[in-house]
């Protein structure tokens, strides 16, 4: 029997929602992380960029922890198979998240150029690696992995790094980079806003091309039928949503551009989960070894308990996280963070910004 129960379907959907929430939110702070060094020319500008995500990145990351916890509770078999199977890839992601996580807090703690540069690279490198590897991981999930009858993944990390998976990695990398740049067009002003617009324009185009290529490859590579058709349709909508971003940016509608970019990421991952259903992970060794949601699931009682908890708590979490974004909605510029307020510095600041303005 392959059909999951109603509750199993609900929990599969909820875990999908947690992942979508994670990628839509942390996606842009990965993007900003990669851009801090590229867009910020001095400490004040870099600080302004870090401040756009400073209050929220930690809360964004909890979506990942909760997705992990919810998978453990609702589908222990999936949790065990996935994380033991993707062992070294997940290790790299965790290390990347650790390094970028501390870089926020450490960056401003010592005022030496080497210290700051080290943590800027840590932030950029960690964000880059995580953004890339999440795509590699999920492309493998779409593709299926070598797995034995005990639902143990038998692949090494090299088996997971095939061209299709790497393309998947580039897709999330480009999407998150663009998403970060678009987020910055909402949260910055002045020269930072101009530079963010520039990056947003080209990175969205790159993301659209890569995403379309990834979908075409997926469609040509695998047998498509049933729910997989709707999955591909959702992914195609993701391409359309991303492709509309440059128009929104051109008409200076940053809010709409951000919503479109978030929509593209959300549609892509919703499509991915629809593609997977009713399996949790497919085996490329033999389809008899597929891990179905039904097999991976916890008991009905546990899922009822967790449903009650989720119904009570998720709206509260959404309310206060939403409120955080409202509190920190103002635009930031380098001039908010100019250092020592000596008359010379003030003068330099004015001259500097005039110079920058004339050069762009």
């Amino acid at each position: 029997m392959r059909e999951p129960s109603f509750l199993q379907t609900v929990w599969f959907a909820l875990i999908g929602v947690l992942w979508v929430g994670y990628f839509v939110l942390e996606g842009f702070d990965f993007g900003v992380g990669m851009l801090v060094r590229a867009l910020g020319r001095d400490n004040a500008e870099k600080r302004a960029l870090i401040h756009t995500i400073g209050p929220v990145w930690d809360g964004n990351e909890v979506w990942l922890l909760t997705a992990g916890g919810a998978t453990f509770a609702a589908f222990p078999g999936w949790y065990a198979t996935l994380f033991s199977g993707f062992y070294l890839a997940l290790l790299l992601i965790l290390l990347a998240l650790i390094v970028r996580g501390v870089s926020f807090e450490f960056w401003g703690k010592e005022d030496s150029p080497r210290w700051r540069a080290a943590w800027e690279w840590a932030l950029a490198g960690g964000s880059f690696l995580a953004a890339l590897l999440w795509g590699v991981g999920f492309a493998n999930i779409v593709h299926g992995v070598p797995m034995n009858a005990h639902h143990e993944v038998t692949a090494t990390i090299w088996d997971l790094l095939h061209p299709y998976a790497l393309l998947g990695g580039l897709v999330t990398l480009a999407l998150f980079l663009a998403h970060g740049a678009i987020f910055l067009t909402l949260r910055t002003r002045g020269v930072l806003l101009e530079r963010a617009r520039g990056v947003a324009r080209w990175s969205t185009r790159v993301a659209v091309v890569l995403l379309a290529g990834f979908i075409a490859w997926t469609a040509s590579d695998q047998a498509v039928g049933g729910t997989k058709v709707s999955a591909l349709a959702l992914a195609a909508l993701a391409v359309a949503s991303a492709a509309a971003v440059p128009f929104a940016l051109a008409s200076r509608r940053e809010g709409i551009a951000f919503a479109l970019s978030a929509g593209a990421i959300a549609l892509l991952f919703v499509g991915l989960f629809v593609w997977l259903y009713p399996d949790a992970l497919r085996s490329t060794t033999a389809s008899a070894f597929d891990l179905t949601l039904r097999q991976a699931s916890s008991s009905q009682y546990t899922q009822i308990v967790m449903t009650v908890v989720a119904v009570l708590l998720v709206p509260v979490v959404l309310a206060y996280q939403g409120w955080t974004y409202w509190v920190f909605r103002h635009r930031l510029g380098g001039d908010d963070f100019e250092g020592t307020p000596t008359p010379v510095a003030v003068l330099e600041k004015k001259l500097g910004s005039a110079e920058r303005a004339s050069s762009t």
Binding site: Y79, F83, S84, G101, P341, T342
Partner: protein, 469 residues
């Protein structure tokens, strides 16, 4: 080392490292919330300076605690897939609740607290630090409920087909008698940790007579609170001991290295046995007569079960085998934990005795002792965890699943060596940097009172930069 030992070392190392910062963050979050409340209520600037000064340590501690916590959420699945399949139905629920109820709360509101100075109204800003503190405490409850199920499984039934544990009563798991004592023990231990840190760092300043207004007030507030916290930690720990002799008699017997069931057992103060896993006998054993029976059974001549007898009982239940942990480890970690707790207790008493006069601010011996005592809660926290986890061996879930049956069969030892090396490197660097930043913040000291600020009038630093990056 074989694969199992590698996986166990990795869990131990990552968890112990994470657990340096967890109790520190729990203790400091409530402490900072208290300081800020006093500032809110009295408007005195000294409390604001305290809030900001201690807030910096809170943030460094949280930063490292949060990132090392990510590993914790995933390593059950990575290294312990069989464990995850076996317990997921029960164990996953409190873990997911921890994410939804606690992690979101602390992570979101700490961001609001850091960046919200001057942007939120003082009342709302005060609420954000309290919500962070509540989040840290809630998180401890859920993770301890999950851990308590491993010590004393309740509210489950075994699935007849898969033989995996299946949750039947969530309230039994959340209100497990084990967690009802483990939670206050751990939380008051965390408050003791935060309190000892405040006392020790304040002592460093008093030793140098720097910023005496801030640190005299800090130490005078922290001393009585720490005394109460360490007293309650010991009190609940005492209750845990009695509960343990019923629920996990082997752990209690091996904590005392008591080999044979004894009536009117003595409390062993110092014992040495041959250096082997199961010495079976002790070379030296200095005991206080009858005291162990008194503690374990509240009766002078009460019977305390011995390792050999408990092992025979467990063999009858679970089949032939060795059901005792490594006695040297349980015996000495138990003593280290209690010893460190007693020293903190004595130090707090001494400090309290110095308080009525101004001697507290001048007693250099006390300042030096308090500074050295910062390591004591870490020693106690570590040895307590090593005791409770190694004392449960060979079981990972007591009476249900052995640690040797819990690992991921498909993860090779080479993978574990790679990840263990990587964690050791990254955590090593984090420790070095964290320690360096702690020392820097101490040397840097609290912000000067606003009266003699060196800023240029009219151009002030944005208020949110006080703690933000």
């Amino acid at each position: 080392m074989n694969t199992l030992e590698l996986a166990r070392s990795q869990f131990a190392i990552t968890t112990l490292f994470h657990f340096i910062f967890v109790p520190m963050s729990i203790g400091l979050a409530s402490w900072v919330a208290l300081c800020q409340t006093l500032h809110f209520a009295t408007g005195k600037e000294v409390y604001l300076r305290m809030t900001r000064f201690w807030g910096k340590f809170l943030l460094i501690s949280i930063a490292i605690g949060v990132v090392t916590g990510i590993v914790q959420e995933f390593q059950f699945g990575m290294n312990w897939a069989e464990y995850s399949r076996y317990v997921g139905d029960v164990f996953g629920a409190p873990l997911a609740m921890e994410g939804l109820a606690a992690f979101f709360l602390e992570s979101t509101f700490i961001g609001l607290w850091i960046f919200g100075w001057g942007r939120l109204s003082p009342k709302v800003h005060l609420a954000t630090i309290w919500l962070t503190a509540i989040g840290t405490v809630l998180s401890a409850y859920f993770i301890l409920a999950a851990n308590s199920w491993m010590q004393h499984p309740v509210g489950y039934r075994l699935n007849p087909i898969t033989h995996h544990a299946r949750l039947t009563d969530i309230f039994a798991v959340l209100l497990n008698s084990t967690v009802l004592l483990a939670f206050p023990h751990t939380i008051f231990g965390a408050f003791t940790t935060g309190g000892s840190l405040v006392i020790g760092i304040s002592a460093w300043y008093l030793l140098r007579q720097r910023d005496v207004d801030v640190f005299s007030r800090s130490i005078r507030m922290a001393l009585p609170l720490t005394l109460v916290a360490v007293f309650l930690t010991m009190g609940f720990g005492d209750g845990q001991g009695r509960l343990m002799s019923v629920q996990q008699p082997m752990k209690m017997a091996s904590a005392e290295a008591l080999y044979n069931t004894t009536k009117g057992a003595g409390l062993s103060l110092f014992a040495v046995g041959p250096f082997e896993r199961h010495p079976e006998r002790l070379g030296v054993d200095v005991t206080l007569p009858h005291v162990e029976s008194l503690i374990a059974t509240l009766s002078w001549d009460g019977t305390v079960k011995g390792i050999n007898q408990v092992n025979a009982e467990e063999e009858r239940k679970y089949g032939p085998g060795d059901y005792a942990p490594i006695i040297g480890v349980t015996y000495w970690t138990f003593r280290l934990m209690i010893g460190a707790g007693v020293l903190i207790f004595l130090l707090a008493i001494a400090g309290l005795a110095l308080m009525p006069s101004r001697r507290l601010e001048r007693a250099r011996w006390f300042h030096r002792a308090a500074l050295a005592a910062i390591v004591l809660p870490i020693v106690a926290n570590w040895s307590g965890w090593i005791f409770t986890e190694m004392g449960r061996q060979p079981w990972v879930v007591y009476g249900l699943l052995k640690t040797s049956d819990a690992r991921s069969a498909n993860v090779a030892s080479s993978s574990i060596i790679i990840s263990l090396t990587a964690y050791l490197l990254v955590y090593g660097v984090l420790t070095a940097i964290g320690a360096r930043l702690f020392v820097r913040e101490i040397k840097h000291g609290p912000a000067a009172p606003s009266g003699d600020g060196d800023g240029v009038p009219g151009e002030r630093m944005p208020p949110d930069l006080a703690l933000a990056y």
